[in-house]
Symmetry: C2
Subunit: 343 residues, 2 copies
DNA sequence: GTGAAAGCGCTAACAT
DNA sequence: ATGTTAGCGCTTTCAC
């Protein structure tokens, strides 16, 4: 048995038509007679034929490759995104090429551009914090590449961005803390260079203020979203003369660090201290006490991003979907936050 | 400014030579005059030219794409592997295409084959447990595709496999438990359909036996490597009339579950119960008490796998590296295991 | 040491 | 509604 991969020519010959016609049914372009189409499809199935992506790409200057650009330490997040994107990719005949990069590197933009050019990537999805780079977005736009950014702030046209409404989510958290009776509240923020960190801090602070509770400057500590920075921040906060009774951390990783520091200081969570995170990591449900946190529908967001970018690539004639771009995270209540214990 | 991507023709014209010669310096094939070569290289640099992967692939039936096939719930592991593979990919001019699949699905093999064919993937790296599929390996071999399997058991020729010596690692764990003074030992295994699970169980059991300690059947419970199955298994074990004083779980996820069950049963870890896992997850160092576990050098293993596969693809003339295929995991001692408390 | 020319498998003007 | 014919940008046999 000849194990050569069947080509479009084989299909054409076998079906007794020309390449062009086969190509037409492959791409749904142009009109083909009902009967011819059926026959061709039968042959395609019988031969187990699938068009070669490279040849196709070379001819149409497309690659059917989507790129994922990120520089994010959070593997769980990345994994969710990859799966979300693939949910659609596979279905639409695209493949996903991953490209971690160095957000801070001087040649980050050039590196990404090279990546896209060399493999003729049809479009890229960019994750935070890289998605916050104005330079990258501009360079991509200028070079005429398709991209979609995933972010926490609405800073691009709605066709090329998917936003999670962190501000609203954090507002929910603030209200929850208040409903538990806390007034001595603190926050460990993310790196203040990131928009998302600002967004969460401001949302939290403002919501508290609206209810008449002040988030004092001395109780705002900047973390780096890492476990270690969480440990340091927690120590600072828990050794304050006027110790807060509730701490909101910018992510679960740092919230987990707070739990550990509390333990070493013999402060019980949640009876003496409430703690909450952000992300809903695997960690959040495993750790003890389990973490009250905010869950972003990451996978769904990623699928949406993939949908937008494929839509843009394929220019479905109609304008690209620009209404649907906002997803809302929500509060997950677990063990680590509770009303103050009556003394 | 013409922003068209420069082609090999541009380079040839500019350098006053033929395509063929440019192609020669691009691929290091054939001989080119010293001077000509230098000149061509100068032009390439000046034009910022890089060969189009698709065209190149179409002509040479290569894609410069590596595939990663897996069906693994552990995002941390996947992430490490991806980074390890990319460490080399980028350097060698390859890109990484990810392809999660359903290990159990009836059409898994066909699906992977399709994936490779459609995108002309040059070679794939397969992660456990998919890497344990004999069917897939055989199908790939038969179709003439390059592959490297990452596994815990040595079941393929050494050119196409990278093995972590789980047996040796588990032996270390057994000895450690013994050195702590434990004799009432239990194990929560992984799914017994996986080679790795067997490997770890047998290694553990045998090592104990060598030192005269029997791992009783009643104290061997099969888990599914998930947190939930860990909870169930732990409950079984900790409610045994003759409760074990030390539990070794097939992964950190299940070890974390043991910690939680112990907590609810008011059994202190590690003074009343020692617990250990396998993987050295992010979880392992964050959880309290932190987990004694076994760390596999995953990233390094992945880089090695990438090296082997690229070597195979490029047929460096010399036989493919088949000596270097075994990596040794090692014991990480943390808080969750300790000598029995004197009563 | 170097060049001319024929494809790789597909798409897309341009017929018919 | 379908076929003809050129390429896409590169590699590669075969001459020179």
């Amino acid at each position: 048995m000849s194990d050569r991969k069947p080509t479009i020519n084989d299909v054409a010959r076998e079906a007794g038509v020309s390449k062009r016609t086969v190509s037409r049914v492959l791409n749904g372009s142009g009109s083909v007679g009902e009967k011819t189409r059926a026959e061709i499809q039968e042959v395609i199935a019988r031969l187990n034929f699938s068009p070669d992506k490279q040849a196709r790409g070379l001819a149409s200057s497309r690659s059917y490759l989507l790129g994922l650009i990120y520089d994010n330490p959070d593997a769980l997040y990345i994994d969710q995104v990859q799966r979300g994107v693939l949910d659609l990719c596979t279905q639409k005949g695209y493949e996903l090429v991953v490209h971690p990069c160095q957000y801070k590197a001087a040649d980050m933009v050039e590196d990404c551009l090279q990546f896209i050019r060399r493999s003729q990537i049809d479009g890229v999805i960019i994750l935070p914090p890289v998605s916050e780079s104005r330079d990258l977005a501009m360079a991509l736009r200028e070079a005429g590449h398709h991209y979609v950014r995933m972010a926490s702030v609405d800073f691009d046209d709605h066709a090329s961005i998917v936003v999670s409404d962190d501000r609203a989510a954090v507002r929910e958290m603030a209200r929850y803390f208040l409903s538990l009776g806390h007034t001595e509240i603190a926050m460990i923020t993310g790196p203040m260079g990131y928009h998302s960190s600002n967004e969460r801090l401001l949302g939290f602070k403002d919501s508290l203020a609206e209810q008449g509770v002040i988030l004092d400057e001395s109780r705002i500590v900047e973390g780096q979203n890492t476990y270690d920075s969480g440990l340091a921040s927690a120590r600072k906060l828990l050794n304050l003369p006027n110790r807060p009774t509730a701490i909101f951390a910018n992510n679960d990783e740092m919230a987990a660090a707070v739990l550990r520091v509390a333990r070493t200081l013999d402060i019980d969570v949640p009876t003496e201290l409430s703690v909450a995170g952000f992300d809903d990591n695997m960690l959040a449900s495993r750790i003890m006490p389990s973490l009250t946190t905010i869950q972003r529908p990451v996978r769904a967001m990623a699928t949406l991003a993939a949908e937008k970018i494929i839509q843009a690539i394929e220019q479905t004639g109609k304008d690209v979907n620009s209404d649907d771009f906002l997803v809302k995270p929500h509060l997950i209540i677990r063990e680590s936050a509770a009303p103050l214990k009556a003394r």
